[in-house]
Amino acid sequence: MIEEPYRWVEAIATRRDYIEMQLATGSPVVALGYDEGILLLTVGQQKLFEIYDRIALGAIGHPGDIERLRMAAIELASTEGFTRSAADVSLRRLAYYSLSPVMKNAFEQIYGAPFLARLLFVEIGTSPAEDLFLEVEYDGAINLRSSDGGNRPFAVLAATKKSAKEMAEFLSKRFQSAKDLPATLDLALDAWTVGQLRTDEAMTGDDEIRRQRSERLGSGTISAAVLKRNTNRAVRYRAVEASDLAPLIAK
């Protein structure tokens, strides 16, 4: 039994190290605003998902844990949308009231298994200023990224804090608003590459990113999805067609 408080703190710290180590090889996810909505992109196994009409999810972690959290999110959103209306489904409430407490609890119950997952939810609003990028950590911590009135509509999910920081810096420098889908896919893949670099250099040059990009992409499959802002359908989520992704591999 762990009866003394400091033992508990120690156990939590060990657990944190363990989880960070488990997540350290995850392939980053990039979410990026473009002229018609928001794009999500990653490389590797399928980990971009539709949660509800306006909400999408990207994740890093153990597939089993991602699956449980994804299911929970879909069930919560669907029941809310069914009993009230689609307009009452809110990402903010889903994360703060439902997912975060459960994840925090699992993380701190040191005799139980924590969730080995880091989640990035994206909710598309009626205007870019209302878009929401929300990250939920394995310990239930929530990082709500404001799009700064639509000026910085992007967020990243990376395996380590360092690569997350580098990706965010890269995007801050390169992001231009209202670009079309091909240009945004291109930038997203560059940002993904930056998140994969294991270098200590502050920022790598463009040529180096391009070289690394084709090298790291290798045989990995790019998966991308969009949340479209203006469409006559309630469901905004669409997987990006393979034909739109093909030009990215050639470069």
């Binding site: 069914f82 889903l94 439902s98």
Partner: protein
């Protein structure tokens, strides 16, 4: 939204079960005592029809909602979009029917989101059948009979338009050419059979405009003898709701277009 409760579910079952688990949907009705007269009360007072034409399937319904001999509402929408390619048209008790449509709509979405693939046409047809079956206890008690038509477009099948009608117990029947349900349906079936067999062209060959004319004439005929069918309200200019499901999805025919064809060919 109670997170803990939801997280305990593990791998999820279908959406109606999820709703029942949380007490949001009535359990499947037990077959209990019959109504006083000991018979099923057919409260399906309406007329719904659907048939295949050259582009896809046209589904039409009158607008009247009745309670006994009283007209309750004259702008009811009984032709409901369930997803991008599925239409459910309802005859029966509105409360039950609309709830069923809502459950169905959410079930298809829930399936796609959780299973990461679209539900098959057969699966969708069966899902409605299951809801009817669960409701049969209420139907027997005379409080919730629903007899729907389900139309969808299956790119893999030929012809791609698929049309099903059901009975109150949940049996599903695939219609080759047309289906009609509700109190005004006998007249409509007669007309559609006649048009399909001895008309200038079989229904599957006619154009969209022709299809609208056939549907208008059929509903007008049904309302001639059936008080529960609204048909076409010439004074208030209330026209039936018509939707088409085709390769590119569902289209609701604009009222102006229906009105124009009505003036030219029906009135």
């Amino acid at each position: 939204m109670d997170g803990k409760q939801a997280l305990d579910f593990g791998a999820s079952s279908d959406f109606p079960s999820l709703l029942r688990l949380q007490g949001l949907l009535a359990p499947a009705a037990q077959i209990g005592p019959m109504n006083a007269r000991g018979e099923i009360v057919p409260t399906e007072s309406t007329t719904i029809l659907a048939f295949k034409f050259s582009d896809g399937v046209l589904v039409a319904g009158d607008r009247r909602a009745t309670s006994g001999n009283t007209v309750v509402y004259d702008r009811a929408d009984k032709v409901l979009e369930i997803d991008q390619r599925s239409i459910m048209a309802i005859a029966g008790v509105p409360a039950t029917a609309w709830e069923m449509a809502r459950v169905l709509e959410h079930s298809f979405q829930f399936f796609r989101r959780t299973q990461l693939q679209e539900m098959s046409v057969d699966g969708k047809v069966r899902a409605l059948s299951k809801l009817l079956r669960d409701n049969f206890g209420f139907a027997l008690q005379g409080v919730g009979i629903v007899v729907p038509i389900f139309a969808t477009y299956d790119v893999k099948a030929s012809p791609s338009g698929r049309l099903y009608f059901y009975d109150a117990m949940g049996a599903q029947f695939e219609a080759t050419d047309f289906a009609a349900t509700g109190s005004g349906s006998p007249a409509v079936r007669g007309i559609l059979y006649y048009e399909n067999t001895w008309g200038k062209n079989p229904l599957q060959k006619i154009s969209e405009d022709e299809a609208v004319v056939v549907a208008l004439r059929a509903l007008d005929t049904a309302s001639e003898a059936d008080t529960a069918t609204g048909g076409i309200d010439r004074h208030a200019k209330i026209f039936p709701i018509m939707k088409i499901v085709a390769a590119d999805g569902i289209r609701t025919l604009p009222e102006e277009k229906i009105a124009e064809l009505f003036q030219k060919r029906v009135a």
